[in-house]
Protein backbone atom coordinates (compact mmCIF):
# COMPACT_ATOMS: atom_id res chain seq x y z
CA UNK A 1 0.00 0.00 0.00
CA UNK A 2 2.60 2.63 0.96
CA UNK A 3 4.61 1.77 -2.16
CA UNK A 4 1.51 2.26 -4.27
CA UNK A 5 0.80 5.53 -2.50
CA UNK A 6 4.24 6.94 -3.07
CA UNK A 7 4.29 5.88 -6.67
CA UNK A 8 0.87 7.37 -7.21
CA UNK A 9 1.91 10.61 -5.57
CA UNK A 10 5.04 10.82 -7.67
CA UNK A 11 3.18 10.02 -10.85
CA UNK A 12 0.73 12.81 -10.14
CA UNK A 13 3.71 15.05 -9.59
CA UNK A 14 5.21 13.83 -12.86
CA UNK A 15 2.06 14.84 -14.71
CA UNK A 16 2.25 18.23 -13.00
CA UNK A 17 5.86 18.58 -14.06
CA UNK A 18 5.15 17.62 -17.67
CA UNK A 19 2.43 20.21 -17.73
CA UNK A 20 4.49 22.86 -15.96
CA UNK A 21 7.67 22.37 -17.90
CA UNK A 22 5.84 22.34 -21.20
CA UNK A 23 3.99 25.52 -20.26
CA UNK A 24 7.13 27.31 -19.10
CA UNK A 25 9.23 26.25 -22.07
CA UNK A 26 6.42 27.08 -24.45
CA UNK A 27 6.01 30.52 -22.90
CA UNK A 28 9.73 31.19 -23.02
CA UNK A 29 10.08 30.10 -26.61
CA UNK A 30 7.35 32.55 -27.53
CA UNK A 31 8.98 35.59 -25.99
CA UNK A 32 12.12 35.23 -28.08
CA UNK A 33 12.61 38.52 -29.85
CA UNK A 34 13.69 36.79 -33.07
CA UNK A 35 11.42 35.03 -35.52
CA UNK A 36 12.15 31.27 -35.58
CA UNK A 37 10.91 31.00 -39.15
CA UNK A 38 13.29 33.75 -40.21
CA UNK A 39 16.06 31.96 -38.33
CA UNK A 40 15.44 28.75 -40.26
CA UNK A 41 15.05 30.48 -43.58
CA UNK A 42 18.18 32.58 -43.23
CA UNK A 43 18.65 36.32 -43.61
CA UNK A 44 18.44 36.44 -47.37
CA UNK A 45 15.24 34.43 -47.79
CA UNK A 46 12.30 36.24 -49.32
CA UNK A 47 9.22 37.01 -47.30
CA UNK A 48 7.21 34.36 -49.13
CA UNK A 49 9.64 31.65 -48.12
CA UNK A 50 9.57 32.83 -44.50
CA UNK A 51 5.78 32.78 -44.57
CA UNK A 52 5.66 29.29 -45.97
CA UNK A 53 8.16 28.07 -43.39
CA UNK A 54 6.08 29.70 -40.71
CA UNK A 55 3.07 27.78 -41.97
CA UNK A 56 5.11 24.58 -42.10
CA UNK A 57 6.21 25.05 -38.50
CA UNK A 58 2.65 25.83 -37.46
CA UNK A 59 3.69 29.24 -36.15
CA UNK A 60 0.73 30.95 -37.81
CA UNK A 61 -1.77 28.99 -35.71
CA UNK A 62 -3.43 30.42 -32.60
CA UNK A 63 -1.33 30.07 -29.45
CA UNK A 64 -3.53 27.53 -27.62
CA UNK A 65 -3.46 25.28 -30.66
CA UNK A 66 0.30 25.60 -30.89
CA UNK A 67 0.62 24.71 -27.22
CA UNK A 68 -1.69 21.73 -27.57
CA UNK A 69 0.42 20.42 -30.43
CA UNK A 70 3.56 20.94 -28.42
CA UNK A 71 2.17 19.18 -25.34
CA UNK A 72 0.81 16.17 -27.22
CA UNK A 73 4.12 16.04 -29.06
CA UNK A 74 6.02 15.81 -25.77
CA UNK A 75 3.77 13.00 -24.59
CA UNK A 76 4.60 11.09 -27.76
CA UNK A 77 8.29 11.74 -27.21
CA UNK A 78 8.42 14.33 -29.97
CA UNK A 79 10.36 17.37 -28.84
CA UNK A 80 10.50 19.01 -32.23
CA UNK A 81 13.43 19.40 -34.57
CA UNK A 82 16.62 21.19 -33.67
CA UNK A 83 17.12 24.33 -35.73
CA UNK A 84 20.85 23.83 -35.61
CA UNK A 85 21.35 20.15 -36.38
CA UNK A 86 18.04 19.65 -38.23
CA UNK A 87 17.58 16.38 -36.39
CA UNK A 88 14.79 15.53 -33.98
CA UNK A 89 15.78 16.96 -30.59
CA UNK A 90 14.93 13.71 -28.85
CA UNK A 91 17.46 11.83 -31.01
CA UNK A 92 20.17 14.36 -30.23
CA UNK A 93 19.44 14.14 -26.52
CA UNK A 94 19.38 10.34 -26.52
CA UNK A 95 22.75 10.40 -28.25
CA UNK A 96 24.23 12.81 -25.68
CA UNK A 97 22.48 11.59 -22.53
CA UNK A 98 24.75 8.62 -21.67
CA UNK A 99 27.84 10.83 -21.70
CA UNK A 100 26.22 13.22 -19.22
CA UNK A 101 24.93 10.43 -17.01
CA UNK A 102 28.30 8.69 -16.97
CA UNK A 103 29.97 11.93 -15.91
CA UNK A 104 27.32 12.66 -13.29
CA UNK A 105 27.53 9.17 -11.79
CA UNK A 106 31.31 9.21 -11.54
CA UNK A 107 31.13 12.70 -10.03
CA UNK A 108 28.59 11.48 -7.49
CA UNK A 109 30.88 8.55 -6.66
CA UNK A 110 33.79 10.94 -6.09
CA UNK A 111 31.67 13.28 -3.99
CA UNK A 112 30.44 10.39 -1.85
CA UNK A 113 33.76 8.60 -1.46
CA UNK A 114 35.46 11.82 -0.38
CA UNK A 115 32.54 13.53 1.33
CA UNK A 116 31.41 10.66 3.55
CA UNK A 117 34.72 10.11 5.40
CA UNK A 118 35.11 13.85 5.82
CA UNK A 119 31.60 14.08 7.24
CA UNK A 120 32.30 11.25 9.69
CA UNK A 121 35.58 12.81 10.84
CA UNK A 122 33.89 16.15 11.20
CA UNK A 123 31.13 14.70 13.39
CA UNK A 124 33.45 12.60 15.55
CA UNK A 125 35.84 15.50 16.14
CA UNK A 126 33.13 18.12 16.44
CA UNK A 127 34.37 21.68 16.98
CA UNK A 128 37.96 20.55 16.66
CA UNK A 129 40.25 21.92 13.94
CA UNK A 130 39.40 19.10 11.51
CA UNK A 131 35.71 19.94 11.90
CA UNK A 132 36.37 23.57 10.99
CA UNK A 133 38.48 22.51 8.02
CA UNK A 134 35.76 20.21 6.71
CA UNK A 135 33.05 22.82 7.19
CA UNK A 136 35.14 25.47 5.47
CA UNK A 137 35.78 23.03 2.64
CA UNK A 138 32.05 22.43 2.33
CA UNK A 139 31.38 26.15 1.97
CA UNK A 140 34.23 26.56 -0.51
CA UNK A 141 32.75 23.68 -2.49
CA UNK A 142 29.40 25.38 -3.02
CA UNK A 143 31.12 28.71 -3.63
CA UNK A 144 33.43 27.51 -6.38
CA UNK A 145 32.56 28.43 -9.94
CA UNK A 146 32.74 25.02 -11.65
CA UNK A 147 33.86 26.52 -14.94
CA UNK A 148 36.81 28.19 -13.24
CA UNK A 149 37.85 25.13 -11.21
CA UNK A 150 37.80 23.14 -14.44
CA UNK A 151 40.09 25.63 -16.15
CA UNK A 152 42.52 25.67 -13.22
CA UNK A 153 42.66 21.85 -13.22
CA UNK A 154 43.28 21.86 -16.97
CA UNK A 155 46.13 24.35 -16.59
CA UNK A 156 47.66 22.31 -13.79
CA UNK A 157 47.23 18.69 -14.83
CA UNK A 158 47.19 19.06 -18.59
CA UNK A 159 49.15 22.26 -19.24
CA UNK A 160 51.85 22.22 -16.58
CA UNK A 161 52.17 18.57 -15.56
CA UNK A 162 50.89 16.93 -18.72
CA UNK A 163 49.60 13.92 -16.81
CA UNK A 164 45.92 14.03 -17.75
CA UNK A 165 44.01 14.93 -20.92
CA UNK A 166 42.52 18.43 -21.05
CA UNK A 167 39.21 17.59 -22.67
CA UNK A 168 37.13 15.14 -24.64
CA UNK A 169 35.84 11.75 -23.65
CA UNK A 170 38.40 9.38 -25.10
CA UNK A 171 41.72 9.55 -26.94
CA UNK A 172 40.78 10.54 -30.52
CA UNK A 173 43.23 7.94 -31.84
CA UNK A 174 41.33 5.12 -30.17
CA UNK A 175 38.21 3.55 -31.60
CA UNK A 176 35.05 4.41 -29.70
CA UNK A 177 33.77 1.23 -28.04
CA UNK A 178 30.70 -0.12 -29.84
CA UNK A 179 27.58 1.24 -28.23
CA UNK A 180 25.79 -1.07 -25.84
CA UNK A 181 24.97 1.16 -22.88
CA UNK A 182 26.49 4.39 -24.17
CA UNK A 183 28.77 4.48 -21.11
CA UNK A 184 32.28 4.24 -22.50
CA UNK A 185 33.52 2.73 -19.23
CA UNK A 186 31.03 -0.12 -19.44
CA UNK A 187 31.12 -0.57 -23.21
CA UNK A 188 34.92 -0.76 -23.35
CA UNK A 189 34.93 -3.38 -20.60
CA UNK A 190 32.25 -5.38 -22.39
CA UNK A 191 34.35 -5.26 -25.53
CA UNK A 192 37.44 -6.22 -23.54
CA UNK A 193 39.15 -3.10 -24.84
CA UNK A 194 41.45 -2.13 -21.97
CA UNK A 195 43.24 0.78 -23.69
CA UNK A 196 39.86 2.41 -24.39
CA UNK A 197 38.81 1.81 -20.78
CA UNK A 198 42.01 3.37 -19.47
CA UNK A 199 41.70 6.35 -21.76
CA UNK A 200 38.06 6.93 -20.79
CA UNK A 201 38.99 6.76 -17.15
CA UNK A 202 41.80 9.27 -17.60
CA UNK A 203 39.47 11.61 -19.49
CA UNK A 204 36.89 11.33 -16.71
CA UNK A 205 39.17 12.27 -13.81
CA UNK A 206 39.25 16.07 -14.19
CA UNK A 207 35.64 16.76 -15.22
CA UNK A 208 34.26 14.32 -12.66
CA UNK A 209 36.38 15.81 -9.91
CA UNK A 210 35.33 19.34 -10.91
CA UNK A 211 31.68 18.39 -10.78
CA UNK A 212 32.07 16.21 -7.70
CA UNK A 213 33.97 18.86 -5.73
CA UNK A 214 30.96 21.18 -5.79
CA UNK A 215 28.86 18.48 -4.16
CA UNK A 216 31.52 17.06 -1.87
CA UNK A 217 30.71 19.68 0.72
CA UNK A 218 26.99 19.05 0.50
CA UNK A 219 27.54 15.34 1.09
CA UNK A 220 30.03 15.92 3.90
CA UNK A 221 27.66 18.30 5.63
CA UNK A 222 24.74 15.92 5.38
CA UNK A 223 26.73 12.95 6.68
CA UNK A 224 28.10 15.09 9.51
CA UNK A 225 24.64 16.18 10.56
CA UNK A 226 23.25 12.63 10.43
CA UNK A 227 26.27 11.24 12.29
CA UNK A 228 25.88 13.82 15.06
CA UNK A 229 22.34 12.57 15.56
CA UNK A 230 23.39 8.93 15.59
CA UNK A 231 26.36 9.38 17.91
CA UNK A 232 24.01 10.69 20.60
CA UNK A 233 21.81 7.60 20.47
CA UNK A 234 21.67 5.14 23.33
CA UNK A 235 22.75 2.19 21.22
CA UNK A 236 26.05 3.89 20.50
CA UNK A 237 26.68 4.41 24.20
CA UNK A 238 25.66 0.83 24.98
CA UNK A 239 27.94 -0.55 22.31
CA UNK A 240 30.83 1.50 23.67
CA UNK A 241 30.02 0.44 27.24
CA UNK A 242 30.14 -3.16 26.11
CA UNK A 243 33.71 -2.59 25.10
CA UNK A 244 33.40 -2.39 21.35
CA UNK A 245 36.19 -0.29 19.90
CA UNK A 246 35.34 3.33 19.17
CA UNK A 247 35.84 3.24 15.41
CA UNK A 248 33.99 -0.05 15.10
CA UNK A 249 30.98 1.53 16.71
CA UNK A 250 31.33 4.59 14.50
CA UNK A 251 31.79 2.76 11.22
CA UNK A 252 29.85 -0.40 11.92
CA UNK A 253 26.89 0.88 13.91
CA UNK A 254 26.41 4.62 13.55
CA UNK A 255 27.48 5.16 9.93
CA UNK A 256 25.03 2.73 8.27
CA UNK A 257 22.16 4.43 10.09
CA UNK A 258 23.48 7.87 9.24
CA UNK A 259 23.61 6.91 5.57
CA UNK A 260 19.86 6.36 5.37
CA UNK A 261 18.78 10.01 5.56
CA UNK A 262 21.73 10.86 3.33
CA UNK A 263 20.30 8.89 0.43
CA UNK A 264 17.79 11.66 -0.22
CA UNK A 265 20.57 14.19 -0.46
CA UNK A 266 22.59 11.93 -2.75
CA UNK A 267 19.57 11.43 -4.98
CA UNK A 268 18.94 15.14 -5.22
CA UNK A 269 22.64 15.65 -5.88
CA UNK A 270 22.43 13.31 -8.86
CA UNK A 271 19.67 15.46 -10.30
CA UNK A 272 21.73 18.59 -9.72
CA UNK A 273 24.78 16.94 -11.23
CA UNK A 274 22.88 16.12 -14.40
CA UNK A 275 22.05 19.70 -15.20
CA UNK A 276 24.96 21.18 -13.29
CA UNK A 277 27.12 19.42 -15.84
CA UNK A 278 26.18 22.17 -18.29
CA UNK A 279 29.18 24.30 -17.33
CA UNK A 280 31.63 21.50 -16.66
CA UNK A 281 30.90 19.86 -19.98
CA UNK A 282 31.48 23.13 -21.78
CA UNK A 283 34.87 23.62 -20.18
CA UNK A 284 36.03 20.07 -20.85
CA UNK A 285 34.50 19.75 -24.33
CA UNK A 286 32.65 16.75 -22.93
CA UNK A 287 30.20 15.58 -25.59
CA UNK A 288 27.13 15.47 -23.33
CA UNK A 289 23.76 17.17 -23.11
CA UNK A 290 25.21 20.14 -21.24
CA UNK A 291 27.64 21.13 -23.96
CA UNK A 292 24.87 20.48 -26.49
CA UNK A 293 22.45 22.81 -24.72
CA UNK A 294 25.02 25.59 -24.33
CA UNK A 295 25.71 25.46 -28.06
CA UNK A 296 21.98 25.47 -28.69
CA UNK A 297 21.45 28.50 -26.47
CA UNK A 298 24.19 30.40 -28.21
CA UNK A 299 22.59 29.76 -31.58
CA UNK A 300 19.06 30.44 -30.25
CA UNK A 301 18.04 26.87 -31.06
CA UNK A 302 14.99 26.88 -28.82
CA UNK A 303 13.49 23.47 -29.58
CA UNK A 304 16.76 21.96 -28.36
CA UNK A 305 16.91 24.08 -25.20
CA UNK A 306 13.30 23.34 -24.34
CA UNK A 307 13.74 19.66 -25.06
CA UNK A 308 16.70 19.58 -22.71
CA UNK A 309 14.67 21.29 -19.97
CA UNK A 310 11.87 18.77 -20.40
CA UNK A 311 14.16 15.73 -20.33
CA UNK A 312 16.16 16.92 -17.33
CA UNK A 313 13.02 17.74 -15.36
CA UNK A 314 11.66 14.26 -16.00
CA UNK A 315 14.92 12.70 -14.98
CA UNK A 316 14.79 14.77 -11.80
CA UNK A 317 11.34 13.48 -10.84
CA UNK A 318 12.27 9.90 -11.71
CA UNK A 319 15.41 10.09 -9.60
CA UNK A 320 13.29 11.32 -6.72
CA UNK A 321 10.92 8.41 -7.14
CA UNK A 322 13.83 5.98 -7.17
CA UNK A 323 15.21 7.60 -4.01
CA UNK A 324 11.88 7.20 -2.24
CA UNK A 325 11.69 3.54 -3.17
CA UNK A 326 15.27 2.79 -2.12
CA UNK A 327 14.62 4.64 1.10
CA UNK A 328 11.63 2.47 1.92
CA UNK A 329 13.43 -0.70 0.95
CA UNK A 330 16.27 -0.12 3.39
CA UNK A 331 14.28 1.47 6.19
CA UNK A 332 11.11 -0.49 6.89
CA UNK A 333 9.99 2.10 9.43
CA UNK A 334 9.16 4.51 6.63
CA UNK A 335 5.70 3.79 5.41
CA UNK A 336 5.17 6.34 2.76
CA UNK A 337 4.00 9.09 5.05
CA UNK A 338 6.12 12.10 4.23
Amino acid sequence: MPFVNIIRKRLIFLVLVVFGVSLITFAISHIIPGDPARLVAGDRASDEIVTSIRQQMGLDRPLPEQYWRYLTGILRGDLGASLRTNRPVIEDLVAFFPASLELALVALLIATLMGAPLGVLSAVYRDRPIDHVVRTLAVIGISTPAFWLGLILIVTFYGALGVLPGGGRIDPNLAIPSRVTGFYLVDSLLAGDLPAFGSTLRHLVLPAFTLGFIHLGVVARQIRSAMLDELQQDYVRTARANGIAKWRVICGHALPNALIPSITVLGLALGDLLYGAVLTETVFAWPGMGAYVVNSIQSLDFPAVMGFSVVVSFAYVLVNLAVDLIYMAIDPRITGVN
Binding site: V17, R126, V139, I142, S143, L151, V293, I297, S309, S313
Partner: protein, 293 residues
Protein backbone atom coordinates in the same frame (compact mmCIF):
# COMPACT_ATOMS: atom_id res chain seq x y z
CA UNK B 1 28.60 32.59 30.93
CA UNK B 2 32.27 32.76 31.67
CA UNK B 3 33.48 30.79 34.65
CA UNK B 4 35.67 33.58 36.01
CA UNK B 5 34.44 36.65 37.87
CA UNK B 6 32.13 37.17 40.79
CA UNK B 7 28.63 35.88 40.53
CA UNK B 8 26.38 38.89 40.86
CA UNK B 9 22.78 39.28 39.94
CA UNK B 10 23.64 41.75 37.22
CA UNK B 11 20.69 42.60 35.04
CA UNK B 12 21.12 40.91 31.71
CA UNK B 13 20.79 44.16 29.86
CA UNK B 14 22.99 43.33 26.94
CA UNK B 15 21.38 45.00 24.00
CA UNK B 16 20.27 42.81 21.12
CA UNK B 17 23.17 44.07 19.06
CA UNK B 18 25.65 43.31 21.79
CA UNK B 19 24.29 39.82 22.15
CA UNK B 20 24.39 39.30 18.40
CA UNK B 21 27.96 40.49 18.33
CA UNK B 22 28.85 38.15 21.18
CA UNK B 23 27.38 35.17 19.38
CA UNK B 24 28.96 36.02 16.07
CA UNK B 25 32.33 36.24 17.80
CA UNK B 26 31.85 32.68 19.03
CA UNK B 27 31.75 31.45 15.46
CA UNK B 28 35.12 31.92 13.78
CA UNK B 29 33.80 30.95 10.36
CA UNK B 30 31.14 33.65 10.47
CA UNK B 31 33.76 36.21 11.48
CA UNK B 32 35.90 35.06 8.58
CA UNK B 33 32.94 35.44 6.23
CA UNK B 34 32.23 38.95 7.48
CA UNK B 35 35.89 39.95 7.07
CA UNK B 36 35.88 38.58 3.51
CA UNK B 37 32.72 40.48 2.64
CA UNK B 38 34.07 43.68 4.18
CA UNK B 39 37.18 43.29 2.04
CA UNK B 40 35.05 42.91 -1.06
CA UNK B 41 32.83 45.85 -0.09
CA UNK B 42 35.86 48.09 0.48
CA UNK B 43 37.04 47.27 -3.04
CA UNK B 44 33.55 47.88 -4.40
CA UNK B 45 33.21 51.24 -2.64
CA UNK B 46 36.68 52.54 -3.38
CA UNK B 47 37.27 50.93 -6.77
CA UNK B 48 38.43 54.14 -8.49
CA UNK B 49 41.05 54.71 -5.79
CA UNK B 50 42.17 51.12 -5.36
CA UNK B 51 42.51 50.39 -9.06
CA UNK B 52 45.92 51.15 -10.50
CA UNK B 53 44.80 51.73 -14.08
CA UNK B 54 41.73 52.68 -16.06
CA UNK B 55 39.97 49.31 -16.45
CA UNK B 56 39.19 50.00 -20.09
CA UNK B 57 42.46 51.64 -21.13
CA UNK B 58 43.89 49.69 -24.04
CA UNK B 59 47.65 49.34 -24.37
CA UNK B 60 48.58 47.18 -27.32
CA UNK B 61 52.25 47.20 -26.34
CA UNK B 62 51.51 45.40 -23.08
CA UNK B 63 49.28 42.63 -24.38
CA UNK B 64 48.96 39.45 -22.32
CA UNK B 65 51.73 40.49 -19.98
CA UNK B 66 52.32 38.23 -16.96
CA UNK B 67 51.75 39.57 -13.43
CA UNK B 68 54.41 42.13 -12.54
CA UNK B 69 54.97 45.23 -10.44
CA UNK B 70 53.29 47.39 -13.09
CA UNK B 71 50.37 45.01 -13.68
CA UNK B 72 49.70 42.99 -10.52
CA UNK B 73 47.42 40.46 -12.21
CA UNK B 74 48.95 40.83 -15.68
CA UNK B 75 47.13 42.21 -18.71
CA UNK B 76 44.55 40.90 -21.17
CA UNK B 77 44.64 40.48 -24.95
CA UNK B 78 44.40 44.21 -25.61
CA UNK B 79 46.68 45.22 -22.77
CA UNK B 80 44.06 46.25 -20.22
CA UNK B 81 45.18 45.95 -16.62
CA UNK B 82 43.55 42.82 -15.17
CA UNK B 83 43.87 43.90 -11.54
CA UNK B 84 41.92 47.09 -12.24
CA UNK B 85 39.34 45.15 -14.22
CA UNK B 86 38.90 42.67 -11.38
CA UNK B 87 38.48 45.55 -8.91
CA UNK B 88 35.84 47.26 -11.06
CA UNK B 89 34.24 43.92 -11.91
CA UNK B 90 33.40 43.55 -8.22
CA UNK B 91 30.96 46.43 -8.53
CA UNK B 92 29.05 44.59 -11.22
CA UNK B 93 29.08 41.16 -9.59
CA UNK B 94 28.08 42.34 -6.12
CA UNK B 95 25.56 44.75 -7.61
CA UNK B 96 23.98 41.98 -9.67
CA UNK B 97 23.76 39.75 -6.61
CA UNK B 98 21.99 42.44 -4.58
CA UNK B 99 19.67 43.37 -7.43
CA UNK B 100 18.61 39.77 -7.94
CA UNK B 101 17.83 39.01 -4.30
CA UNK B 102 16.14 42.36 -3.70
CA UNK B 103 13.85 42.00 -6.72
CA UNK B 104 13.13 38.32 -6.12
CA UNK B 105 12.72 38.87 -2.38
CA UNK B 106 10.54 41.95 -2.81
CA UNK B 107 8.16 40.48 -5.35
CA UNK B 108 8.16 37.12 -3.55
CA UNK B 109 7.37 38.78 -0.21
CA UNK B 110 4.40 40.72 -1.56
CA UNK B 111 2.93 37.79 -3.49
CA UNK B 112 3.60 35.30 -0.69
CA UNK B 113 2.13 37.45 2.09
CA UNK B 114 -0.95 38.24 0.00
CA UNK B 115 -1.41 34.60 -0.84
CA UNK B 116 -1.12 33.63 2.80
CA UNK B 117 -3.53 36.28 4.05
CA UNK B 118 -6.14 35.86 1.37
CA UNK B 119 -6.06 32.07 1.49
CA UNK B 120 -8.73 30.16 -0.39
CA UNK B 121 -8.66 29.69 -4.11
CA UNK B 122 -6.17 32.47 -4.85
CA UNK B 123 -3.72 30.83 -2.48
CA UNK B 124 -4.21 27.35 -3.94
CA UNK B 125 -3.74 28.50 -7.51
CA UNK B 126 -0.69 30.60 -6.69
CA UNK B 127 0.93 27.78 -4.76
CA UNK B 128 0.36 25.26 -7.54
CA UNK B 129 1.98 27.67 -10.00
CA UNK B 130 4.95 28.01 -7.65
CA UNK B 131 5.19 24.21 -7.30
CA UNK B 132 5.38 23.89 -11.04
CA UNK B 133 8.07 26.53 -11.39
CA UNK B 134 10.04 24.98 -8.54
CA UNK B 135 9.86 21.53 -10.12
CA UNK B 136 11.94 22.67 -13.08
CA UNK B 137 15.72 22.85 -12.57
CA UNK B 138 16.43 26.53 -11.96
CA UNK B 139 19.71 26.79 -13.83
CA UNK B 140 18.07 25.48 -16.97
CA UNK B 141 15.08 27.82 -16.79
CA UNK B 142 17.32 30.75 -16.02
CA UNK B 143 19.49 29.97 -19.00
CA UNK B 144 16.53 29.49 -21.31
CA UNK B 145 14.86 32.67 -20.10
CA UNK B 146 18.05 34.71 -20.32
CA UNK B 147 18.64 33.42 -23.83
CA UNK B 148 15.08 34.21 -24.86
CA UNK B 149 15.30 37.76 -23.50
CA UNK B 150 18.55 38.25 -25.38
CA UNK B 151 22.10 38.11 -24.03
CA UNK B 152 22.79 41.07 -21.78
CA UNK B 153 23.66 41.46 -18.13
CA UNK B 154 20.34 43.14 -17.36
CA UNK B 155 18.34 40.33 -18.95
CA UNK B 156 20.41 37.76 -17.11
CA UNK B 157 19.64 39.52 -13.83
CA UNK B 158 15.98 39.66 -14.69
CA UNK B 159 15.88 35.96 -15.56
CA UNK B 160 17.65 35.04 -12.31
CA UNK B 161 15.30 37.20 -10.27
CA UNK B 162 12.18 35.77 -11.90
CA UNK B 163 13.29 32.17 -11.38
CA UNK B 164 14.05 32.84 -7.71
CA UNK B 165 10.73 34.44 -6.87
CA UNK B 166 8.92 31.16 -5.99
CA UNK B 167 11.36 30.42 -3.15
CA UNK B 168 10.50 33.71 -1.49
CA UNK B 169 6.80 33.33 -2.18
CA UNK B 170 6.79 30.00 -0.38
CA UNK B 171 8.74 31.40 2.54
CA UNK B 172 6.66 34.57 2.89
CA UNK B 173 3.42 32.63 2.62
CA UNK B 174 4.51 30.28 5.40
CA UNK B 175 5.24 33.29 7.59
CA UNK B 176 1.94 34.94 6.72
CA UNK B 177 0.02 31.79 7.61
CA UNK B 178 1.61 31.69 11.05
CA UNK B 179 1.22 35.41 11.71
CA UNK B 180 -2.41 35.38 10.54
CA UNK B 181 -3.25 33.03 13.39
CA UNK B 182 -1.60 35.16 16.08
CA UNK B 183 -4.03 36.47 18.72
CA UNK B 184 -3.10 40.10 18.10
CA UNK B 185 -3.83 39.75 14.40
CA UNK B 186 -7.15 38.11 15.10
CA UNK B 187 -7.76 41.00 17.48
CA UNK B 188 -6.97 43.47 14.74
CA UNK B 189 -9.49 41.78 12.46
CA UNK B 190 -12.11 41.94 15.18
CA UNK B 191 -11.49 45.67 15.49
CA UNK B 192 -12.24 45.97 11.82
CA UNK B 193 -8.81 46.01 10.23
CA UNK B 194 -8.83 45.18 6.53
CA UNK B 195 -6.61 42.56 4.93
CA UNK B 196 -4.52 45.35 3.50
CA UNK B 197 -4.00 46.94 6.91
CA UNK B 198 -3.11 43.63 8.50
CA UNK B 199 -0.65 43.03 5.69
CA UNK B 200 0.98 46.39 6.18
CA UNK B 201 0.96 46.61 9.96
CA UNK B 202 1.62 43.05 11.04
CA UNK B 203 2.47 40.55 8.37
CA UNK B 204 4.94 42.53 6.30
CA UNK B 205 6.99 43.56 9.31
CA UNK B 206 7.07 40.20 11.02
CA UNK B 207 7.72 38.21 7.88
CA UNK B 208 10.78 40.32 7.09
CA UNK B 209 13.55 38.69 9.17
CA UNK B 210 13.35 35.20 7.64
CA UNK B 211 13.16 36.72 4.19
CA UNK B 212 16.26 38.77 4.85
CA UNK B 213 18.08 35.69 6.07
CA UNK B 214 17.06 33.81 2.94
CA UNK B 215 18.30 36.71 0.84
CA UNK B 216 21.67 36.63 2.60
CA UNK B 217 21.92 32.91 1.99
CA UNK B 218 21.07 33.53 -1.64
CA UNK B 219 23.58 36.28 -2.36
CA UNK B 220 26.54 33.95 -2.85
CA UNK B 221 24.52 31.72 -5.15
CA UNK B 222 23.23 34.68 -7.15
CA UNK B 223 26.74 36.04 -7.69
CA UNK B 224 27.91 32.60 -8.78
CA UNK B 225 25.06 32.10 -11.19
CA UNK B 226 25.46 35.56 -12.71
CA UNK B 227 29.10 34.81 -13.41
CA UNK B 228 28.15 31.42 -14.86
CA UNK B 229 25.66 33.06 -17.22
CA UNK B 230 28.30 35.55 -18.29
CA UNK B 231 30.73 32.68 -18.78
CA UNK B 232 28.48 30.98 -21.34
CA UNK B 233 27.88 34.31 -23.04
CA UNK B 234 24.41 35.09 -21.69
CA UNK B 235 25.38 37.81 -19.24
CA UNK B 236 27.77 40.72 -19.46
CA UNK B 237 29.11 41.30 -22.95
CA UNK B 238 32.53 42.47 -24.07
CA UNK B 239 34.19 44.77 -23.18
CA UNK B 240 32.43 45.00 -19.80
CA UNK B 241 34.75 44.13 -16.93
CA UNK B 242 32.70 41.30 -15.40
CA UNK B 243 34.32 38.35 -13.63
CA UNK B 244 32.52 35.54 -15.42
CA UNK B 245 33.00 37.15 -18.82
CA UNK B 246 36.70 37.66 -18.06
CA UNK B 247 37.16 33.99 -17.14
CA UNK B 248 35.36 33.13 -20.36
CA UNK B 249 37.64 35.24 -22.58
CA UNK B 250 40.67 34.13 -20.63
CA UNK B 251 39.78 30.55 -21.49
CA UNK B 252 41.10 31.15 -25.00
CA UNK B 253 44.53 31.84 -23.55
CA UNK B 254 44.35 29.48 -20.61
CA UNK B 255 47.35 27.27 -21.34
CA UNK B 256 49.81 30.11 -21.88
CA UNK B 257 48.32 32.99 -19.92
CA UNK B 258 46.77 31.25 -16.92
CA UNK B 259 46.53 34.47 -14.94
CA UNK B 260 43.90 35.87 -17.27
CA UNK B 261 41.20 33.45 -16.04
CA UNK B 262 42.71 32.62 -12.67
CA UNK B 263 42.37 36.01 -10.93
CA UNK B 264 38.80 36.94 -11.91
CA UNK B 265 37.70 33.39 -11.08
CA UNK B 266 39.38 33.60 -7.70
CA UNK B 267 37.52 36.85 -7.06
CA UNK B 268 34.23 35.02 -7.69
CA UNK B 269 35.27 32.20 -5.34
CA UNK B 270 36.37 34.66 -2.64
CA UNK B 271 33.19 36.71 -2.77
CA UNK B 272 30.83 33.74 -2.93
CA UNK B 273 32.66 32.04 -0.05
CA UNK B 274 32.36 35.17 2.07
CA UNK B 275 28.63 35.46 1.51
CA UNK B 276 28.04 31.73 2.01
CA UNK B 277 30.02 31.70 5.29
CA UNK B 278 27.96 34.65 6.50
CA UNK B 279 24.76 32.94 5.34
CA UNK B 280 25.65 29.80 7.30
CA UNK B 281 26.44 31.85 10.37
CA UNK B 282 23.19 33.79 10.18
CA UNK B 283 21.22 30.58 9.84
CA UNK B 284 22.93 29.13 12.91
CA UNK B 285 22.20 32.29 14.87
CA UNK B 286 18.53 32.31 14.08
CA UNK B 287 17.93 28.60 14.38
CA UNK B 288 19.76 27.35 17.46
CA UNK B 289 18.58 23.80 16.80
CA UNK B 290 20.66 23.82 13.66
CA UNK B 291 23.66 25.23 15.45
CA UNK B 292 26.85 23.61 14.29
CA UNK B 293 25.02 21.37 11.88
Amino acid sequence: MSAAGPIVAAPVAISDWGFLFYRIRKSPLTVLGILMILTVLVFVAFAPWLATHDPNAISLRARLAPPSGAHWFGTDEVGRDLYSRVVFGGRLSVGVGFFVVVIAGGVGAVVGCLSGILGGRVDTVLMRIMDVVLSVPSLVVTMALAAALGPSLFNAMLAMAIVRIPFYVRLARGQALVIREMPYVKGAYIFGASNWQVLRWHVARNAMPPLIVQATLDLGGAILMASALSFIGLGAQQPTAEWGAMVSTGRNFILDQWWYSAFPGFAILFTATGFNLLGDGVRDLLDPRQKGR
